[in-house]
């Protein structure tokens, strides 16, 4: 009777392995960001976010057990991220579009040094 629940029990080595992988990725991203040997230039942000995304997926899939959960819960998480993407992409696109006008205005109306 005590073993009949259908819920998945994550094995301990998987939990510990995931934790070590997460720590490793944290060290990697800090090293990557603070080292001076290789400069990825504009891709630096992307690289950092990529590592963060890998970490996030590890947490979601293993710690939050999405891998062994009902698909509905994964759908919820993914769709919330899609809506964030929608919100950010359109808003940022619009800002990038009108920014030149704002910049011109700002340059023509510089603030005094001690303003606010």
């Amino acid at each position: 009777m005590s073993e009949n629940h259908s819920h998945y029990v994550t094995p301990l080595p998987v939990l510990l392995g995931t934790f070590l992988a997460l720590v490793g990725l944290t060290v990697l991203t800090v090293y990557q960001a603070t080292q001076d040997h290789v400069d990825f230039g504009r891709f630096e942000v992307g690289l950092t976010l990529l590592i963060a995304a890998v970490k996030a997926i590890l947490v979601a899939v293993i710690f939050m057990q999405l891998a062994h959960d009902k698909p509905m819960n994964s759908i919820i998480l993914v769709s919330s991220i899609l809506f964030v993407a929608l919100f950010l992409s359109i808003t940022l696109m619009d800002r990038a579009e009108y920014k030149p006008q704002v910049d011109d205005y700002v340059i023509q109306h510089p603030k005094t040094a001690d303003s606010l």
């Binding site: 939990l15 800090v30 996030a56 939050m64 819960n73 919820i76 998480l77 919100f87 940022l92 303003s115």
Partner: protein, 384 residues
């Protein structure tokens, strides 16, 4: 295993609500509810991520320079602490599934201690920034090149940490005394004690580390000053700033300092006079080139806008920093509160392999708080 078979096995556990047919239905409903709540959390944070992206995209350089005031080591330490707490939460779910009460309690207590450490380190970070005047935009009082004396702050932080340790121990004792007859109350106090002791440890460790790091910087600054004083004193000042910003890199020798100066980016634009000059230059592109050649500064439109926006623009970065980490910290506090309750219930044997929903749901919430930090950390601390 189907829900109906499940129901036949063991009809109603004592925490099953009347309107659910089976415990499994209740568990799945609760889990779905928690996931939906987490999706609202994701969207809640999205607003701040959007603000961050908007201002970083508009002024990447300012964000880089402002972010140099944050210490990646502290952020990284907090990241690992949170990851550890995530591990222990996942582990505690495993324990309750396997009916291991000791393991469950131990893991939850470690989780709470980690949460405490996180908040302790955050206290150190906030206090030092407040002393330096690195507030949000409206309260931003930082003056370029100023070096406020952090000594009193460090002292205060040390006492705060010690007091927290004391309070933590006291809470533990209170738990033993008051909880003599109630195992739930006793463990609730233990849980609080673990959190507060964790906070004390975090505060002390973070404080000691920052103090040490500042000591190193002073060495580097002194060396830099001695070398460049008569040649170009102005720039040496900037070198200092850079060195301070780069405090994480233990700058020990002169070459490193020179390198930093070579990559000097913002230059004088933070100074109002220079800003006005820069604006005048817009009208005469020829002069800009001349300036560029001599001062080794590339005047982009971004810098001009920055200059025109006024010297307090980095305050916007700190506004977003405080908003994001502050709201995140509120979530940590909420999580601590719920976990104390969970510990208390776990001690009273409320959970068993057929009923552990609250542990699982709180765990999911905690993982999400961790997930958000996983993104906050590189975006705020690791901007290069």
């Amino acid at each position: 295993m189907s829900a109906s078979a499940h129901a036949d096995d063991h009809s109603h556990h004592r925490f099953q609500a009347h309107h659910f047919e089976t415990g499994e239905q209740q568990f799945q409903a609760g889990k779905l509810g928690m996931w939906l709540f987490l999706s609202t959390e994701v969207l809640f944070f999205s607003g701040m991520f959007c603000a961050y992206a908007a201002y970083r995209a508009a002024h990447p350089q300012i964000f880089e320079d402002a972010a140099k005031f944050l210490k990646p080591e502290l952020g990284a330490a907090n990241t690992i602490v949170l990851l550890l707490s995530s591990l222990t939460v996942a582990w505690s779910v495993r324990c309750v599934q396997l009916n291991d009460k000791k393991g469950l309690l131990a893991n939850l207590i470690i989780t709470l201690a980690c949460a405490g450490i996180f908040m302790g380190v955050k206290t150190v970070e906030y206090s030092i920034k407040f002393t330096e005047g690195l507030f949000w935009r409206g309260g931003y009082t930082y003056v370029e090149g100023s070096h406020p004396d952090l000594g009193p702050t460090h002292e205060r932080l040390m006492y705060t940490g010690l007091v927290m340790l004391g309070i933590g121990v006291l809470l533990g004792v209170i738990g033993i005394v008051l909880g003599a007859n109630s195992v739930g109350r006793r463990w609730a106090f233990y849980a609080l004690a673990a959190t507060v002791i964790g906070a004390g440890v975090g505060c002390l460790a973070g404080n000691a580390y920052t103090q040490g790091a500042e000591g190193d910087e002073h060495h580097a600054e002194a060396a830099a000053h001695a070398d460049h004083e008569h040649e170009h004193g102005e720039e040496a000042a900037h070198g200092e700033e850079e060195a301070e910003g780069e405090g994480n890199v233990a700058v020990e020798d002169q070459e490193a300092v020179e390198e930093l100066e070579g990559t000097d980016r913002v230059d004088g634009l933070e100074h109002p006079e220079t800003a006005e000059q820069a604006i005048e230059q817009v009208q005469s592109p020829g002069e800009i080139q001349a300036e560029e050649a001599s001062a080794d500064v590339v005047l982009t439109k971004e810098k001009l806008v920055y200059a025109s926006e006024g010297p307090k623009f980095p305050g916007v970065f700190f506004s977003i920093y405080y908003a994001m980490t502050g709201v995140h910290a509120i979530h940590i506090l909420a999580g601590i509160g719920v976990f104390v309750w969970i510990v208390s219930r776990a001690a009273r044997d409320h959970f068993e392999p057929h009923y552990y929903g609250p542990v699982e749901y709180t765990g999911l919430y905690w993982h999400l708080v961790d997930l958000i930090w996983i993104f906050l950390f590189p975006l705020l601390y690791l901007i290069q």
